[in-house]
């Protein structure tokens, strides 16, 4: 090699030797893997300035088109940077209409609002959250919706590609598998990697959520897909095809009809039966066809409370000993309804059936199609005589027709006689309820019966909807009021997760708003304290509803448990306020509500003051505002 060659080749002999020496030294200092990496590295390209502006449409615009095609009305969200692209597109590209953005102060509120909304509207609301911290906040509400078999459309922001994570927040808000946290209590999820994939999964998610058993679903909206310009060609949105609900096997339905028609005293236990108002009508038709009492677990508005065949909503649900055929329709914890267990916390619990010897149990339920293993919401195994997998509402028409075909004149006569007896028993139950309601009529704190009667007097001539459940107030509304429409009751949490009621009532009231219904909620104090910011959401978005506080100043269920346990162990039952009472100081809910922009009054302890206060508050609600009355109440 001559000098001219050396000048052409930068790795000349001296350079090679020098490099080799350095290499040997380097070899001594660096591990082989690092050496291999260095060899593979290419010279760095000149540092190019980052492109910070673009006039191209971002992927989020297409995502908005997809969501609009699903007819989703609202998105409930607490803002988060991992879905900022979608938020911007929803507002500036989508016009913040269909869906409209709802500002929430907590992700648990977002999901519970969607939970309440779906129970009234019969379709899912979208919620958005960070795939990490947002979903962590939301998770209990997701679990409630799952246990309650309610569709919620959950979209999570996440940045999967490290190249797009700018700094600390975007690293700690990123996750490999965002839906993993809630996979045990959602029905389906996906994390699409292209817009084509996104559109298909978004449509699929909607269909899956809405096919009984309806449940929450999760779709991850990758941050890169949201914010990068659309480059995919021939993007299209798949047609939404709703699956027909699963119906019970015809042979099994015919067998059930035989058992029911032949029964001397059949009963229907209704869990999550009526998905729609048609479901209510069908249940009425079945009950009247059979002359069967309906015991309603009140997880949905299943059966009119004033119907002569309606079982008493307070007591008696657990007593099935009088019946020879028991039909359970999507019943929750059916085993506990048909068995008696020993008291609280006795080791080696014993149980025995409470049904009549020889009584037959028939079940129709779709939940067998979506059982998961980890969370125990499937309850104890019930040894039914006939178990039919299928959506009860969809199976009822065939069951009704099968029963009608089997009814002979003799059976018809027996059915009429039985129906008359049940109606008479119901009349006596209602009379007894009136006497019970009178017992603490003038008491202070105000009795839950008085509260319910005063509220009923104010709303009974309106098109009303009770957007709370009544379990914690001795079931007075369903004992006293005339519930006859599907939207008049929304049931409870599903997973018994407290903190559900306040946001669920706001979501349900939002669904009622466009129908012009008057939404009222009897709001438990402990529940409101989890995330009271939802009161502001109601004010901000002009969601009219009246919240009447059932303020017993405690987490009362737990307080009773502690009292019972202390007595059981011969210890002082008077200590149960510790850790359960919400007093010292008393919480001023009227001031809280005013702070969140609502009309509010209270605390009201004098029963004479309640009626006029309700009237004043309802005047504000009828003008389109949310309002709250703080009523200090008896414990239950």
């Amino acid at each position: 090699m001559d000098k001219s060659d050396e000048s052409k080749n930068p790795v000349n002999r001296r350079g090679f030797l020098a490099g080799a020496a350095a290499g040997v030294a380097g070899l001594a200092a660096k591990p082989p893997a690092l050496m291999a990496q260095q060899a593979a590295l290419k010279p760095e390209a000149a540092h190019a300035p980052a492109e910070v502006t673009s006039n191209q449409r971002p992927g989020a615009d297409f995502m908005v088109d997809v969501f609009k095609s699903l007819g989703i009305e609202y998105i409930a969200a607490n803002p988060g940077s991992s879905f900022r692209g979608l938020q911007e597109s929803f507002i500036n590209y989508g016009g913040n209409k269909s869906p409209e953005w709802l500002t929430c102060c907590h992700e648990e509120s977002s999901v519970a609002m969607a939970h309440g909304y779906a129970k009234i509207e019969g379709k899912p609301m979208m919620i958005m959250a960070h795939g990490t911290v947002g979903l962590q906040h939301a998770s209990m509400a997701v679990y409630n919706a799952y246990c309650d078999r309610v569709p919620v459309y959950i979209v999570l922001g996440n940045i999967l590609d490290v190249n797009y994570r700018r700094g600390n927040a975007e690293w700690v808000h990123s996750v490999q598998d965002a839906a993993a946290m809630v996979r045990d209590y959602t029905k389906w999820d996906d994390a699409p990697v292209s817009l084509t994939h996104f559109a298909e999964s978004a449509v699929r998610a909607y269909t899956i959520a809405m096919t009984p058993p309806t449940e929450p679903v999760v779709l991850v909206a990758d941050g890169t897909l949201q914010e990068e310009p659309i480059t995919e060609k021939n993007l299209r949105i798949p047609k939404l095809v709703m699956s027909a609900p699963p119906q019970g096997d015809s042979g099994a339905v015919a067998e059930a009809a035989k058992m029911l028609v032949a029964a001397e005293n059949p009963v229907i236990v209704a869990g999550r039966v009526a998905r729609t108002s048609q479901g209510m009508d069908l249940l009425v038709e079945l009950a009247e066809t059979l002359g069967a009492r309906v015991l309603d677990q009140k997880m949905r508005m299943n059966f009119p409370t004033a119907h002569p065949l309606a079982g008493h909503p307070g007591a008696g649900l657990g007593n099935l000993s009088a019946y020879d055929v028991i039909l359970g329709l999507e019943v929750q914890d059916f085993w506990s309804m048909t068995h008696k267990m020993t008291g609280l916390n006795k080791f080696g619990m014993e149980s025995q059936p409470t049904t009549k010897p020889g009584a037959k149990v028939v079940t129709i339920s779709a939940i067998e199609l979506n059982h998961k293993s980890n969370y125990q919401d499937f309850y104890r195994y019930l040894e039914a005589d006939l178990a039919i997998t299928g959506d009860p509402e969809s199976t009822l028409p065939e069951l009704i027709e099968a029963c009608k075909k089997l009814i002979t004149p003799d059976r018809r006569s027996a059915i009429q006689e039985r129906s008359a007896k049940i109606a008479e028993a119901n009349r006596r139950d209602h009379e007894r309820d009136r006497e019970m309601a009178a017992l603490a009529w003038d008491a202070s704190p105000i009795s839950t019966a008085r509260l319910s009667a005063e509220l009923w007097a104010q709303i009974k001539n309106e098109d009303w909807s009770l957007v709370s459940n009544d379990r914690f107030i001795s079931s007075w509304p369903t004992r006293m009021w005339n519930f006859s429409k599907h939207y008049q009751y929304i049931g409870a949490q599903g997973g018994a997760g407290i903190g559900y009621q306040a946001p669920a009532s706001v979501g349900a009231a939002l669904a009622n708003r466009k129908h012009g219904r008057l939404s009222v909620s009897i709001q438990c104090d402990g529940d409101l304290n989890y995330a009271p910011g939802v009161l502001w959401t109601a004010s901000h978005h002009g969601i009219p509803m009246l919240s009447v506080m059932h303020n017993n100043r405690s987490y009362h269920e737990e307080r009773m448990f502690l009292t019972m346990l202390a007595a059981k162990y011969d210890r002082d039952p008077g200590t149960s306020d510790i850790g359960t009472a919400l007093n010292g100081p008393n919480i001023d809910y009227a001031s809280i509500a005013k702070g969140y922009g609502q009309y509010a009054e209270g605390p009201i302890s004098n029963p004479q003051e309640l009626g006029p206060a309700l009237k004043r508050a309802l005047e504000r609600v009828k003008k389109g505002e949310p309002a709250l009355l703080d009523v200090v109440t008896q414990p239950r």
């Binding site: 307070g314 008696k340 008291g343 609280l344 009136r434 006497e435 019970m436 309601a437 009178a438 017992l439 603490a440 009529w441 003038d442 008491a443 704190p445 009795s447 839950t448 019966a449 009667a453 005063e454 009923w456 007097a457 009974k460 379990r471 914690f472 107030i473 001795s474 079931s475 009362h556 307080r559 009773m560 009292t563 019972m564 346990l565 202390a566 007595a567 059981k568 011969d570 210890r571 002082d572 039952p573 008077g574 149960s576 008896q634 414990p635 239950r636």
Partner: protein, 112 residues
């Protein structure tokens, strides 16, 4: 509890009832302080969690026997270490002071 024990308790309580009419003021303190009201309501109206006590037809003896051996599933037995027979006599005396409620037929809101 066997039959003999039940009768023994009944007789003991009956003897106490004959000698001690109970102190309603102390009964009120116990009814509230030992949390009877939590299930039965502040005026004994009962509800979803506990039986009605107001205007009870139970004689004191039977009341005490019941508290010691409740038949309902959720109420635990309150034994003498927690509430003595004297305490229960006082609570009974307090329950008996709950005023007679207005008849439901005289309350307009319950007749609509």
């Amino acid at each position: 509890m066997n039959k003999f024990a039940f009768l023994f308790l009944l007789c003991g309580a009956a003897a106490l009832a004959q000698t001690n009419p109970g102190d309603p003021a102390n009964g009120k303190r116990l009814f509230e302080g030992k949390n009877c009201y939590q299930c039965h309501g502040h005026v004994g109206q009962g509800g979803g969690a506990g039986a009605r006590l107001a205007q009870t037809k139970l004689p004191q003896v039977a009341f005490i026997v019941f508290v010691r051996n409740p038949s309902s599933g959720s109420m635990p037995p309150f034994r003498a270490k927690v509430l003595s027979d004297q305490d229960l006599a006082d609570i009974y005396a307090y329950i008996k002071t709950f005023p007679e409620p207005r008849p439901a037929k005289d309350i307009p809101l319950l007749n609509e």
